[in-house]
């Protein structure tokens, strides 16, 4: 099957996901827009980073992409084909997750052999006699000694467990891997090992990654493009160089200022963001970021900004586009 170059491996078109949240006895239910009209393209063979604070909808979006949640509106496309034409298993063959916590994402009562071969058994791939060989190949590939196949997760270190999670995700040879905070539960030296491994496997197998992380240094190191999410919307998306050298959205700027590089000459930065992350059930009017924004103008409180595209990079802020341009310059 050949796919034209410009069709992204994974794409969301105006995807929304609304949960009905109980407000308590007799108070009825109110909608929570966890993901609110997100359009994101993940081109084949690229790494797209998704950053944002907890509660911004990153993980909900990941679950939608994995087919674990159905979007309430919008469309998810794999290779340009709408997800509604795929069954649950077809999706799982194309796209696999690696989760944050290798301590809770592996079943403690199963051996590593059983954990890694589970996808093969579910999808009935090949002959059962070949499964063991494929497990061993995967263990080699992720840099685990073959003898761990008979071990249980509790006998492995955090880094080894995350390697098992990588092996399980890749044994079906998916096209896309969604890495949800793949290294934030790991030690510094192990984090670099896992990042190196993910990079090698990407080159070797031609994988496409969606890398979800709140560690911007990791995203900068791995990603080709970065999308910044705030309260269910993507507020800025650009190639990594542009985003890090010339962040445009005030929220992106605040995030970048909060990155602590190991430079003893600098102090702790002040991101000017204030303490309060808005309640997603009751989002602020206009631009949802305006109560925390240093560049807040009157128009921000009144109306939601539209997306401005410039050289393939987009930003959603009143400072840019239309008559806003003059304001940004002033």
């Amino acid at each position: 099957m050949s796919t034209p170059e410009d069709v992204p491996a994974l794409e969301t078109v105006d995807v929304s996901c609304v949960f009905q949240v109980n407000q308590g006895f007799m108070r009825g239910r109110r909608p929570l827009r966890a993901v609110n009209g997100v359009s994101l393209r993940v081109p084949r063979g690229k790494v797209v980073g998704l950053v944002g604070e907890s509660g911004c909808g990153k993980t909900t979006l990941a679950q939608i992409l994995l087919g674990l949640l159905r979007p309430t509106a919008g469309d998810v496309r794999y290779d340009g084909v709408s997800a509604s034409t795929f069954g649950r298993r077809d999706v799982a063959r194309r796209i696999q997750p690696i989760f944050q916590d290798p301590y809770s994402s592996l079943n403690p009562t199963k051996t590593i052999r059983s954990i890694v071969s589970l996808p093969l058994r579910i999808h009935r791939v090949g002959e059962p006699s070949e499964w063991d060989d494929r497990v061993m190949q995967m263990l080699d590939m992720v840099g685990l000694p073959r003898r761990v196949a008979g071990s249980y997760p509790s006998q492995l270190s955090g880094g080894q467990r995350q390697r098992v999670a990588v092996a399980r995700a890749l044994i079906m040879r998916p096209e896309v891997v969604i890495c949800d905070e793949p290294t934030s539960a790991l030690d510094v030296s192990v984090q670099s090992q896992i990042l190196n491994l993910l990079q090698d496997l990407k080159d070797e197998l031609g994988l496409t990654y969606l890398l979800i992380s709140h560690n911007l240094a990791v995203v900068e190191h791995m990603a080709d493009r970065v999308a910044v999410m705030y309260l269910g919307r993507i507020v800025e998306e650009a190639d990594t160089e542009t985003l890090f050298s010339n962040p445009r959205h005030p929220y992106t700027r605040a995030l970048l200022e909060s990155v602590l590089t190991p430079d003893p000459r600098l102090g702790v930065p002040d991101s000017h963001l204030g303490t309060v992350f808005p309640n997603p059930i009751d989002p602020p009017s206009g631009c949802t970021f305006h109560p925390r924004c240093v560049d807040c103008m009157d128009v921000c409180k009144a109306s939601a900004p539209t997306t401005t595209v410039e050289a393939g990079n987009r930003v959603e802020c009143h400072l840019y586009g239309g008559d806003g341009k003059s304001r940004a310059a002033a």
């Binding site: 955090g158 030296s189 190991p262």
Partner: protein
């Protein structure tokens, strides 16, 4: 009266386990002055959290603590009983724990938990405790403090809970504050705010602070002094700038190579890594415990591994190899 708040000499922790004697902390020494921040940095299992528990007298029952010196404001902590220790704990030495989600009691209000600490040390002064709680909640940047006192932990976000934890640690005006990974569970934006807050409060109240973390970015930004721990020992220590600009121990060098730094590490290139695993600290331990992961290891590391080398300005490290050998490697790229 000197300005030294805490003086620790040759602190050891031993825990008998089925396989023998576990030695998670093997003779470490450090000191903290008034208004000074000491960062203890290391990976999981290096003994940094046990060290903080040992200072607070909160070690698990099976663990045995010993030290040549353990003085807090000139007072020897070694012989103190549980009662005397709890008079100090929370009053003049207090701790901020890692997980704001689990270290607050979900069944009591914020106010209740804040006042409890104060009332333990100032009996019967309920109104005073309440005033102090409100004052400190405002100090740590929580708005509408008086009404927050009636809230339960689940009604607060992670960042607010950690602020409450900080306020709680400050209730009795401590002279030493021990913060064990205070921002690990938080978002980057909140992390910066909490660190800012800690630094401000420390300056204002002239507290000594021990900050325990695995994040070198945090260390570089807040520390006055750094102690790098590996396998229960301090392998390198010194003033923050000196350690970061001129890391000497191969482990410190390795750690610094492991982290991606925007603008410095290039995309598509491998990050440095430290091969191998953290050693087992049960039973007979000899020589430098980093030797089986070290690019410069020689036979002498087994016998003379703990040779201490002092450089000027209080910068010291433990390594048998000569300065030129390890220094040369700190600038050359890591082999793949």
């Amino acid at each position: 009266m000197s300005s030294t708040v805490l003086e620790v000499h040759n602190l050891r922790i031993e825990i008998p386990v089925a396989a023998g004697l576990l030695q998670p902390v093997r003779g470490i020494s450090f000191g903290v002055d008034k208004g000074e921040t000491l960062c203890i940095v290391g990976e999981s299992g290096c003994g940094k959290s046990l060290t903080s528990l040992a200072l607070m007298g909160l070690l698990p029952k099976a663990a045995v603590r010993s030290a040549d010196r353990l003085e807090f404001r000139g007072r020897d902590l070694r012989g103190l009983g549980e009662r005397q220790m709890s008079d100090i704990r929370g009053a003049s030495m207090s701790m901020i724990f890692q997980e704001p989600m689990t270290s607050l009691n979900p069944a009591y209000t914020i106010g209740n938990q804040l006042e409890e600490a104060y009332l333990r040390h100032h009996r019967g002064k309920r109104a005073e405790a309440r005033d102090r709680a409100i004052y400190l909640l405002e100090k740590v940047g929580i708005s509408a403090a008086a009404s927050r006192l009636k809230q339960y932990p689940h009604q607060l976000s992670g960042g607010l809970r950690q602020r409450v934890m900080i306020a709680m640690a400050l209730m009795c005006g401590p002279e030493l504050i021990i913060a064990d990974e205070p921002t690990t569970a938080l978002d980057v934006t909140i992390q910066a705010q909490i660190l800012h807050l800690l630094a401000d409060l420390q300056r204002e109240f002239e507290m000594g602070m021990i900050l325990i973390t695995h994040d070198l970015g945090i260390v570089a930004r807040v520390a006055d002094k750094v102690a790098v721990m590996y396998a229960g020992k301090i392998v390198e220590e010194g003033p923050c700038e000196r350690v970061f600009e001129n890391p000497m121990h191969p482990y410190t060098q390795g750690l610094l190579r492991c982290i991606p730094v925007p603008g410095k590490t290039r995309r598509g290139e491998h990050l440095g890594s430290i091969p191998g695993l953290v050693p087992n600290l049960v039973g007979d331990i000899r020589g430098c415990m980093f030797r089986n992961r070290c690019p410069h290891a020689v036979d002498a590391c087994l016998e003379l591994g703990d040779t201490a080398v002092s450089l000027d300005g209080g910068h010291a490290y433990t390594c048998v190899r000569d300065v030129e050998t390890i220094r040369a490697s700190s600038s050359e790229p890591q082999p793949a």
